[in-house]
Subunit: 426 residues, 2 copies
Amino acid sequence: MNALNVAEYMQTLGLHARQASAAMARSDAATRNRALRSLAALLRGNVQALQAENATDLERAIAAGLAAPMVDRLKLTSGIIETVALGCDQLAAMPDIVGEITGLKQQPSGIRVGQMRVPIGVFGMIFESRPNVTIEAASLSIKSGNACILRGGSEAIASNKALAQLVQQALIEAGLPAQAVQLVQTIDREAVAQLIAMPQSVDLIIPRGGKGLIERISREARVPVIKHLDGNCHVYVDDPCDVEMAVQVADNAKTQKYSPCNASEGLLVANGVAGEFLPLIGMIYAAKGVEMRCDPEARAILAGVPGANLKRATEQDWYEEYLAPIISIKVVAGLEEAIAHINRYSSHHTDAIVTRDHMNAQRFLREVDSASVMVNASTRFADGFEYGLGAEIGISTDKFHARGPVGLEGLTSLKWVVLGQGEVRR
Amino acid sequence: MNALNVAEYMQTLGLHARQASAAMARSDAATRNRALRSLAALLRGNVQALQAENATDLERAIAAGLAAPMVDRLKLTSGIIETVALGCDQLAAMPDIVGEITGLKQQPSGIRVGQMRVPIGVFGMIFESRPNVTIEAASLSIKSGNACILRGGSEAIASNKALAQLVQQALIEAGLPAQAVQLVQTIDREAVAQLIAMPQSVDLIIPRGGKGLIERISREARVPVIKHLDGNCHVYVDDPCDVEMAVQVADNAKTQKYSPCNASEGLLVANGVAGEFLPLIGMIYAAKGVEMRCDPEARAILAGVPGANLKRATEQDWYEEYLAPIISIKVVAGLEEAIAHINRYSSHHTDAIVTRDHMNAQRFLREVDSASVMVNASTRFADGFEYGLGAEIGISTDKFHARGPVGLEGLTSLKWVVLGQGEVRR
């Protein structure tokens, strides 16, 4: 396809998605749940066929010299297929949120005014490598009554095509329009440029992938984008606190897994507890091979820990999302300085305080300007499933619409409904 | 000021606003309410001084040959000053919404997860002519715990400066930072270009004014914009309906006032009731001098109305926001065609059905994709005060964040709060 053809192709996808979105908005919950259960059954019934398509992606990736971890993320194991099938079943079992009316109250004029939760309409999702995202996005879209256009990574195109075909089959079986979920069938990069600039047919873009991709999409999109760029999360160990609890939380927040965006990258410690706390966490980090980038005070205290890998923190370290066994450590005077540091350097994703002081907990919750703020819990909990959303399409550090983990509600909006008996304005 | 100086000046305003926003977010409700009551008192105590400043704006406007209705909108009458003072008192008396935590539920891991309502941070407001908007925006900003930068019309600069000075005095009297509300003191247009492109210090832009201004701002802004461009609202008269009620609603929606964005511009009538309904409403429109732009069917029925000003509707008429004594009229087969017409041509602002049929009412509410959808009520009710929001900073036809009339909630966002007892992720 040349650029002109790609533009035309994307316009057609957009038009079909817009048409399908009206049918989806009209559909009832039982029908959408039937489609989800059909999809689960189709996934389970086509494990071998899916893996055959996946194999062609894997062969091409290996031939192209893709790094082993990247090849791994491409793989559609039978375990992964079962997991996404189970996800569809679970979504089907969740209560429907579309059409719910809240806050209906009578006003002095006599009219009753409330808000109805309705699908956004059409969203575009742009993602890389892992083909299971195709099913996660498709199933959330079906459950929330939206239509979507999915653009996966070029390296997974064969797997994604096979998965998308099952999705469309499930939609048809349930009596819904197949075009409610469309996969972009070309790997031409121009397709992304088109997708993010069709406000007449796409209401929202959700990018998932590298920071470069997300920055470019945010800059060029003509419609709202739900995104996060960085997860520079913090644990602040307050004075007074339960030091044993602080050690557990700071350990888990950093080391339970290094790659997720909700892993902590910075550790702040109140002066009054630093002498007791830092050697304890330092021993754990040393044992796990975590490099510690310290301000001078923290470094002086940690110097006595055998085997500790200590470096001096630079200004840049306070901004850094390592996604690796590295953590920045700073001793602060107390709550005030901790909040100021976090609001200056954090990526407004997730920040936690460990404290025994009720007033400090309240101030931290209120004044830290991040999508998730936590008291006495690991930042690793910032996740749609852990928050009880049942599913997650992404995490947002924007302040608008959806902030933090984004589930079904983030794919809907609230419109006003007014019920009258012929009232007119005086 | 030259462009460079304007850029520097706006950066400074932005920096000060960001600093003030932290103090505002920290402040308690009683303090903010005290500032609002001080402001009300200052407005009432300075009526003559305000009018003296206003007089210089008026003289300049008249000398510049501004049209009489524009000069009128500039005028700070004692009535208008009392109205905005009363608005401040009313806001002070309203419950505080900042810091409210909702939906706090325990999750299987033991953590409790909820959402806290917090100020957005800093918003920029760009408006034309009417200086009372300065007080409306400032008072909503104070109540909601935000900081704001206000950019009024150049023709009202003296009035706006005098009003903004009172706002800052009130903030200081209450112990809040004066820079929580800043007026752009230059009329240089470059200031707007800067204001909408400082994401590091401004979180949100709210433009109020002509369509051209709002389109330009939406296109060029680097931060989210809460806006509506058009109010092409509809009344659909269904079959069956209470014809007398339909006449009252269709009359009120069009003629109670022609200029507001929630006045109706299109009237759709189900075939089955057109013969009875159209002559009745036609007589009223004829008596009030409302021009009717009709499709052939409506025109045939209305031909018998004495004195009716009938024109043939063109395709363009279905899109038009007249803001004038003109209405487009179309006879449709029924609900299905009415919804399709509205979703195609309306500006997604406010649309109403008049019906006796419960199923049709439900379908209309659910399927019409507009910020406000109404049953048996005049579109003129789409308004923050009528909806019980207590105040309104604007109306949004976007689907994100704030949709429809925007009050205090639209100036806040929800962040997640997690309360634990040392839980870690397994």
